[in-house]
């Protein structure tokens, strides 16, 4: 099972099921318009006009927000009228999305783990996990590779460059 995921992509055709490009265009435009609206709202709150000592803090972002919201709506129009140049195309097909998530979800866990375990332990686990889950490696090669990554990173940053990276209980135990 674990070895087959990477070989699925070539059979993907453009007619495959997935998230349509237009749906994603609409979602992105709406998100950007909301960001613009948030900027307008916050700028209006702190003052977007002319103060006693020149332009107020909100002056510049206020107009940025208006342009962003405006362009987002303009992007939206042709799609809503069904005339988008990418009508009917896929943003990402389900098999593609599964591949993307197979990288993205472990990465989310990796980032979430760094404050708890420290960066070195988390990186070692990430390397070993990717090798076993996405590649066809057994723990016999994956575990040493993960350890090697952590040790090389530690030697490079903590010892050579004297740059401290997040450390966890393991490093505390080892006395660093």
């Amino acid at each position: 099972m674990s070895t087959t995921t990477l070989e699925m992509a070539p059979v993907v055709r453009s007619t495959a099921q997935g998230i349509t490009r237009n749906a994603m265009e609409v979602a992105t435009s709406v998100t950007l318009a909301l960001v613009g609206a948030a900027a307008i709202w916050d700028s209006a709150r702190i003052g977007a006009g002319w103060g006693a000592d020149g332009p107020q803090s909100g002056y510049f972002p206020f107009w940025l927000g208006i342009i962003l919201a405006g362009t987002s709506f303009a992007n939206l129009l042709p799609i809503l009228r069904g005339r988008g140049e990418h009508a009917g195309k896929m943003f990402v097909t389900w098999p593609q999305l599964r591949l993307v998530l197979s990288v993205l979800i472990p990465t989310v866990f990796y980032v979430a783990a760094i404050p708890i375990t420290g960066l070195y332990v988390a990186s070692a686990v990430l390397v070993a996990y990717f090798m076993m889950k996405l590649g066809d490696f057994t723990w016999r090669s994956a575990v040493p590779a993960g350890l090697a990554t952590a040790v090389v990173a530690f030697a490079t940053f903590e010892i050579w460059f004297l740059v401290g990276l997040p450390k966890g209980p393991l490093e505390d135990m080892l006395g660093f």
């Binding site: 992509a9 900027a39 510049f60 390397v127 990276l165």
Partner: protein, 504 residues
Amino acid sequence: MEEIGLLMQGFAVALQPDNMLLMLIGVVLGVLIGVLPGLGGANGIAILLPLTFAMPPVSAVIMLSCIYWGALFGGAITSILFNIPGEPWSVATTFDGYPMAQQGRAGEALTAAFTSSFVGAFVAVVMITFVAPVIAGFALRFGPPEFFAVMFLSFASFVGMAKGSPLKSLAAMMLGFLLAAVGMDTVTGQLRMTFGSSEMIRGFDFLVAVIGLFGISEILCSIEDGLSFKGQKAKIDLKVVLRTWKEMPKHALLAARSAIIGVWMGITPAGATPASFMSYGVARKMSKDPAGFGHGKIEGVIAPETAAHAAGTSALLPMLTLGVPGSPTAAVLLGGLIMWGLQPGPMLFVEQKEFVWGLIASMYLGNIAGLLVVLVAVPWFAAILRVPFPIIAALILTVCAIGAYTVSNAEFDIVLMLIFGVVGYVMKKLDYPLAPLVLALVLGDRTEEAFRQSLLVSEGSMGIFFHNWLSGGIMAAGIALLAWPLLGWLRGVIASGMGRARAA
């Protein structure tokens, strides 16, 4: 010829053993970065930038700019051998480079690519040597309105010359400006758009954004295609190199034309990627055998590579002289200058002669070093892509996380990096250009400052930007560029309206 003397002083700086070593490290790292998917010039430099804080600025900039040259060289390796453009500007190189490799002419294609990259870079560096001091001297007279006008022009040219939707360029740019504005207002000290979150007070660091937008998103994009690298064998020996070099003078005119296209596109903030495509297109159009392009024609390798490298190099000209970078990588280097405590802009040429000329001299030497390194070590660099993707992906994610953390020793920045990665993935797939976003993020504060200072002088009147022929002229050029897509759109509307009228 005052420049020659200054350049010689620069060589004295760049030829110091420490700096030579850094140059070599930079070039090797750069080629590595250029070969690996997910690590490009911009985010490779972004990751390594925090490690250079302890170095003298001139050594730091020599190493980082050499990473950039290395990445420019490295992009060609994967395009030719694997049909995978390591960098966006090497996409056009795949058109003829990969067919050549399939025909067993990989060595020839690689030699041609590296040599023409070198030629392109050389032309651009010579141009920088003589033009930069002139522009910098001219720009010394700039006030806030002129600086705002220059930035306005460079952002307008993103909209006017965008290959895709101008609206999307504009939206990406505005997003970049807004992200730059988050946090403490540098003029009044007021908090903006933090929405009560204490993590937002620091604002968004452009290095974190670059690592996410260019690094993480690239990993996500490349996993979609399944990624089993199938490469052609790279055999490159002295015989092939010499034979190809003997052929090269025949294409001197092509190289010269491509270099000019590249230099021009690099100075205007369009960058290396469109330059390579444009140069390829022009070469095909002007060739006697246009049908042969795409099937392994050496001209199809020379044209884009010369232009891309010329553009990548000359993108540093506006960065050095005006403080307005011409490409995302130049933008990251500009961010570096600010972090090392240097003030980018024309004053650099007056106050930091050693820095400027050391950098320019290192451009000459770095490109020679780069050419030698890639010619000698191509098979080793190509072997890197034979490392299975899961290992490469995990290592790149780790390196990106380390890079994001070291920017300001904040764990939250790693989370931001991941968010920027997903944002970048969506934007890339929807053809929102990332370059204007990054440039706006880097230049946001300085643009706003120039804008507000100008308005302070004029007490709120926009007329200040047209107060003399200089800023007025630049602003007018910017407005013309902004209006360009609008004109095309209007013409389309009128034409379809007339077509409809005729049909009725």
